[in-house]
């Protein structure tokens, strides 16, 4: 398991790849289907939750990733501390949906460079052909037998979310595999 004091400075640079652990960032899992739920989320985050599968929506502060028809992952910098409380009080407490802080459950690893998708393809059965050409696309799949959420933020630049308990193993695998790409 990765150190709870996030190894923020951990960074690995190779010829066409740069690997960074992008922590700490705030991550919130939100679930709901009611009309009020979408209205409240839109009002608090100033963002429309993506309803199209495998997509995301972003503004300057927040990123909302589609996880399933009634579930999204929102991540942003730790500075906006009140956002979680606002969402929780406006949605969870009033039974419009579910708001869970999963900041410590997921670790964000940023991978960028020309060989980003070569690296991912070496450990995943997911077909990245369309994914790598579509900015803001999202997928949940297996990478080296580990559940991951991949957010394609810019071309050849992805944020990869992995569960904390699997993160060290995956981080070591990524660093190791990157040498052979």
């Amino acid at each position: 398991m990765l150190n709870t004091e996030y190894p923020i400075s951990e960074k690995k640079s190779l010829d066409d790849l740069e690997l960074t652990i992008s922590e700490p960032i705030k991550k919130i899992n939100i679930r709901g289907t009611k009309k009020e739920f979408f209205t409240k989320v839109g009002k608090i985050l100033s963002i429309i939750l993506p309803t199209e599968p495998n997509t995301s929506s972003s503004n300057q502060q927040f990123n909302a990733l589609w996880l399933s028809p009634d579930e999204w992952l929102v991540y942003f910098n730790e500075e906006n501390n009140n956002v979680y409380n606002d969402l929780f009080n406006e949605i969870s407490k009033l039974n419009f949906g579910s708001i869970v802080d999963v900041s410590n459950q997921w670790i964000c690893i940023n991978i960028n460079g020309k060989k980003t998708f070569d690296l991912l393809s070496s450990g995943s059965s997911f077909n990245f052909n369309n994914f790598k050409n579509t900015k803001n696309s999202v997928t949940q799949t297996l990478l080296n037998h580990t559940d991951v959420i991949i957010h394609h933020t810019e071309i050849n630049d992805i944020n990869l979310f992995v569960r904390r308990s699997f993160s060290e193993d995956l981080w070591l695998w990524i660093k190791d595999s990157a040498r052979f790409i």
Binding site: P53, N54, L67, S68, P69, E71, S125, F126, N127, T139, Q140, T141, L142, D147
Partner: protein, 91 residues
């Protein structure tokens, strides 16, 4: 290994899914009135057909949603995929 078209996420490798067994098994309305044999029949007995079978599947490593699938168990050919609650297709 085969590819499954998840009704929510699209085409994914079979390794992302887990099979939940036979689909469309109706729970008895009055379980207390059943004999032990009838209850065991409902709870444990499955057809396990060699051929076209209606199954439940879960996209465990993706959207985590359950759905139904019509699959030929002898060659893994998928005839149809449909969401929970939808009527099974007529084959």
């Amino acid at each position: 290994m085969f590819v499954i078209n998840c009704p929510y996420c699209g085409e994914r490798d079979q390794s992302e899914f887990s099979c939940g067994g036979e689909a469309h098994i109706v729970r008895p309305k009055q379980p207390t009135e059943l004999s032990d044999d009838e209850w065991a029949e409902y709870l444990f007995m499955r057809k396990n057909i060699k051929g076209v079978q209606f199954e439940r599947w879960n996209h465990a490593h993706g959207c985590r949603k359950w759905f139904n699938m019509v699959r030929d168990t002898s060659n893994d050919k998928i005839h149809a995929v449909y969401k929970m609650g939808e009527k099974p297709p007529v084959l």
